[in-house]
């Protein structure tokens, strides 16, 4: 194993992107809580629901997936899962869903509290599990659910039929929300939100693309933290500004030869799948201690939505990673791997995510061949700590490093 060469950790500058992004992520919860206390309706919203809709309508929403990740990262994943399992939910069900259903029942988790919902905004472009989870929330809490159904696209391109179906649903969802909340859709406001969301997304994608530099100006695990803002606040001006700052900092790091990966970058890998939140430190350390920088992941780029008009926005939401066929999903990753000069692929076989993991063996084989890089996988879970083995992870990462070393 490479000897870790630690660089001195600088104090956090309150004007840094990191500090600003952390503040925005925290405010996503506090501002929703304040709205609730003012008597406004609050929604629970799935991570890839078109945020432009609640943002334009001025609705307060919070994100159960983000909350579940936070709860899991702070060590309470198992405790919350136990609550829903006691109610009869199988431990094979997505752990985010188990945590969320538990939270809806017990309404408290000091690790990450958030206001209870008055309505639900569901979009299944990431999985159909999302529909089942939100159906149960709607039933148990007796609140309305608005579903935008974005089907898994078996083709490479978004067809006119799919676009029309999704566009009609966007319009229907807006009308339903107007009726439910009394808020009104404004085209002017929408244009503003669209512009900000695009600005945030462009800055985010430019920042993540800085991994093209060798060494990378950042530790890829930083992206997993900053991503929370992309999920919860990409339509907000302060998010756009903070992401632009992040990009500037990464460019500056590159110019100065610095990086937030505070050891020598010996190897560069792409990470596949959702982060293993309960074991974030272990998974990060297992790489860093070997000088392996996880420079890129589709998971981070997935939250950068670039589009030019309403139809284009609908198309963008049809193209999120879990809604696309194997070939398109493969090609996006091959591009990332090549653009960022990746030497290996580390795949998280995520017990919680059937869709993400379900064709990963075949796709990762194809990526490995296309990029001529070794592929190694490990078993884990995005939020249930019981589905991860530190020893297996360590062995697999060591194996990956050894193959990469022989290919130097």
């Amino acid at each position: 194993m490479a000897e870790a060469v630690k660089k001195k950790r600088p104090p956090i500058d309150p004007n840094s992107a990191k500090a600003r992004l952390g503040k925005i992520a925290a405010e996503a919860y506090s501002s929703a809580q304040e709205a609730k206390e003012r008597g406004e309706m609050v929604g629970w919203c799935s991570s890839n629901f078109p945020v432009e809709i609640p943002e334009t309508l001025g609705l307060a929403v919070v994100y159960p997936e983000n909350q579940a990740a936070g709860i899991a990262a702070r060590g309470a994943g198992e405790r919350m899962c136990n609550v829903s399992e006691a109610d009869g939910y199988s431990n094979d069900i997505c752990a985010y869903a188990r945590i969320s259903l538990a939270y809806a029942k017990i309404k408290s988790a000091p690790e990450q509290d958030m206001p209870q919902p008055d309505f639900l905004l569901c979009c299944n472009n990431i999985c159909n599990c999302m529909i089942k989870w939100y159906e149960n929330l709607a039933k148990e809490l007796d609140i309305p659910m608005i579903l935008i159904d974005i089907p898994f696209n078996p083709d490479y391109e978004v067809s006119d039929a799919e676009l029309a179906y999704v566009r009609d649903q966007f319009r229907a969802a807006i009308a339903q929300l107007e009726e439910l909340t009394g808020k009104k859709w404004s085209e002017e406001k929408y244009k503003e939100v669209m512009e900000i969301s695009g600005r945030t997304s462009r800055a985010w994608l430019k920042a993540t693309a800085c991994a093209k530099y060798t060494p990378s100006p950042f530790n890829g695990f930083d992206l997993l933290n900053h991503m929370a803002v992309m999920v919860t606040a990409r339509g907000k001006l302060e998010a756009a500004e903070a992401m632009e700052k992040l990009y500037e900092e990464y460019e500056e790091n590159h110019e100065k030869g610095e990086s937030t990966f505070r050891t020598e970058e010996k190897y560069r890998v792409m990470f596949e799948g959702i982060a293993c939140w309960p074991w974030l430190r272990v998974t990060a350390t297992g790489l860093k201690s070997r000088g392996i920088n996880m420079v890129t992941t589709i998971y981070a780029d997935a939250f950068g939505f670039i589009y030019e008009d309403f139809d284009d926005m609908c198309r963008a939401y049809c193209k999120v990673p879990n809604a696309i066929n194997l070939e398109y999903a493969r090609d996006k990753r091959v591009k990332l791997a090549k653009d960022n000069k990746v030497e290996g692929l580390l795949v998280h076989t995520n017990r919680s995510c059937k869709l993400w993991s379900g064709f990963m063996p075949e796709m990762s084989r194809q990526i490995g061949e296309a990029c001529d890089i070794p592929v190694v996988s490990f078993d884990g879970d995005q939020a249930d700590p019981r589905n991860f083995s530190e020893a297996q992870y360590d062995t697999r990462v060591q194996g990956l490093m050894e193959i990469m070393e022989t290919r130097k």
């Binding site: 109610d87 009869g88 939910y89 199988s90 094979d92 069900i93 997505c94 869903a97 299944n124 999985c127 159909n128 599990c129 529909i131 089942k132 989870w133 159906e135 149960n136 709607a138 039933k139 659910m145 579903l147 935008i148 159904d149 089907p151 898994f152 696209n153 078996p154 067809s159 039929a161 799919e162 029309a164 179906y165 009609d168 649903q169 229907a172 066929n325 194997l326 076989t349 017990r351 059937k354 869709l355 993991s357 379900g358 064709f359 990963m360 063996p361 075949e362």
Partner: protein, 372 residues
Amino acid sequence: MNVKELLERFHKTATTPREQMDSYLAEGRKIVLTAPVYTPEEIIHSMGMVPMGVWGGDIQLAESKKYFPAFICSIVQSIVELGIAGTYKGASAIVIPSLCDSLKVAGQNWKYAVPSIPFIPMTYPQNRKPGFGHTFTKEGYLRVIKDLEEATGERFDDEKLAASIEVYNAHNAAMRALVIALAAHPEITNAQRSDIFKSAQFMRKEEHTALVNELIEALAAQQPGEAKTRVMTTGILADAPELLAILDENKIQIVCDDIAAESRQYRTDAPAEGASALDRLAAKFCEMDNCSVLYDVEKKRVAKIVEDAKTADAKGVVVLLTKFCDPEEFDYPLIKKACDEAGIPNVLIEIDRQMINYEQARTAIETFMELL
């Protein structure tokens, strides 16, 4: 044929689908495989081909493990396993809908695991009640038609579809009547009941309808056997011989079901009216409800299970939960709660296609019987 002969015929067809497939192929008919849960079989039928259901098999998995992680349901894994093994050799195509996450990945893996049999995706809408849901369903069917024409060389004709819709609606009616008829005849075992449902997947529907109607008529003339404990089953599948034997040994009679491979297939008919036969078929899907893979915010399925159990005078509900089936696993806590509140005893039995030891299921059923 008498009841015994008819039941033997259903059993043979249910247990030897390959023979059935070979005989259709020998007749010069093309076979199109149809994966769970719903596919537009009427379209395939109308094009002169035979849709044959593929719901996997009770086999050990080997080759499919190269494509799927262990936590994908064994139904889709065994479909691909059988495909790789050549069990479906001679089929012209497979239609796989994307109604759950495991089915979505099954289609993607199929392309590489079984390249000799073309994959035809059927993308259904979940928001199927508004007009745009109907339009999208129809678009999905048009895409299936285009792919079928390319894969098989056969041609689609809306008038022929109208005739096939009549065949399928008649089959639906026969299967619904069958459930009622069987409920009055405890001497028909659960294994025999399963054979009738399973054979429907492997036969042309007009042939199956004729046999089912013949059975219903023959049963009407037969004295019902000794009463057993009446239950309702719910889940995706209920065809494992070992499991059915345990139910039979415990003198349990399935009097109605909410099984995806059984009654859920036959609840909804294509409506009589529509702009075209294809519109009528799209309307059939849009009208479907009470199923774990169809968006159901009111959880009408749960209420229907309670209602059906009461109507059929079932003394309990047996939940056959297919392992790793998200849609069913999410519904289970609500089903249990609703049954408990309605005072209907219920038992959970987890099943999959790789089960070898059924002793845990036996114990659960025996305990359940004591409770009843």
